[in-house]
Subunit: 217 residues, 2 copies
DNA sequence: TAGATTGTTAATCGATTAACAATC
DNA sequence: TAGATTGTTAATCGATTAACAATC
């Protein structure tokens, strides 16, 4: 399968398609046209057909797309069937919330261990995931296959921990610290969850709307 | 101030500029050129100048931009000085983590109340924010100015609670439930934090890289 | 078969980049 | 002043939309 680099915009839409298809499945819909799917997601039918055709021919003329089949295609494109393994670093509030509430396995990822520095946490287990000492990080990573590191440490620890992860051969980080990890020398993949960026965007749009309403008067 | 709709791409970059400028301030840098800023953010100088000039003339030829002045301009554009007020609905793991750890005030937002259904939580207070009963939601919203609702309820509660919020006149929701709120009739502003979408994008890029490495052999 | 809907090519639109005169 | 760097216009590039022949 050789396709010249798919654009980031397309990649960001794929998980939305997946969620919508799961939702459709649950409601017992098992066939959908690009027109209807577009309606439900606020996208044009053209765009949807372009997006899918980037990866293959998943539809059928005159019929549309099979919901379950399309779902599996997209799951495969996203790597959900590759059995990726993750570890989580930093069992604070957000780390704890992820371990307890975020269903990694729903998205094809196995959370195999968590790490923290706090002695009172080490040895305990949450939702089936054991917390180990940060001292064991390197040895654990050398002995177990880990594809993704979930970074939920405090701001100050973000860069030093990242160094250690990279040194241990990790090449994908799911970053919840509000620190810019992107840019450094290494070619590690970084995916950021920046709460503040998200809130500020919302704040902008609220302001824009207020200004419009003000202007209308 | 009349500017024909600024594109979403630009808006999404503004919070990144803000963070970088704060970081520069802390390191004692108080002047920067579009060239250097571009280097640090992985953007072209052109793009940076285009982005800023969308909102005014913040720089000075031959000199560059004053870090603190530019920071204040961007903060203003994002509405950080408007004193927006927020309430949080659903004090589960993620809601609790936000109350305790996310510094709303750093981004110009005041978290004025939290709501939950659990009797054992009602009346308690976290990090200065009191938890009220969901029964009080409507009366609270009618008596207090609230601009943003932070939605951290379980999946099942997402839609019914959203209905109630909209009925009470809320027109901005910061959505942490993995439910698609966008699209319905109402013109409420929705900003999503979709953990799963983010993880799946990362999973895609990991897969892409593996495939490339495979192909190289 | 006739109607519907795909996959894909061509046209449009918008965003990014390059270039440069203005000017601090 | 001379050098540096902006703000902005023009050129390029890429992404979205439209159109339509292919076909189920």
């Amino acid at each position: 399968m050789k396709h010249s680099k798919v654009s980031n915009n397309v990649i960001r839409r794929l998980p939305r398609y997946l969620r919508k298809l799961d939702e459709l499945s649950e409601s017992g819909v098992n066939r959908i046209s690009s027109f209807d799917l577009g309606q439900q997601l606020g996208l044009t039918p053209s765009q949807i057909r372009q997006d899918f055709s980037r990866f293959g021919e998943f539809g059928q003329q005159g019929y549309g797309y099979s919901v379950p089949a399309l779902r599996e295609h997209i799951a495969g494109i996203l790597g959900m069937d590759r059995g990726y393994r993750a570890v989580l670093i930093g069992v604070g509030h957000i780390g704890h919330a992820l371990i307890d509430n975020f269903c990694f396995s729903d998205w094809g990822v196995k959370l195999s261990a968590a790490f923290d520095v706090k002695p009172e946490l080490i040895g305990s287990s949450f939702n089936g995931t054991a917390v180990r000492s940060m001292d064991e990080l390197e040895s654990y990573l050398s002995e177990n296959p880990v594809d993704i590191a979930v970074l939920t440490v405090p701001k100050d620890a973000a860069l030093p921990v990242t160094e250690r992860l990279i040194a241990s051969g990790i090449n994908a980080i799911w970053n919840f610290t509000n620190v810019e990890l992107t840019g450094p020398d290494s070619d590690v993949l970084v995916e950021n969850i920046h709460f503040s960026d998200s809130l500020l965007s919302l704040s902008y749009y609220v302001s824009e709307r207020r200004d419009e309403q003000q202007a209308d008067k």
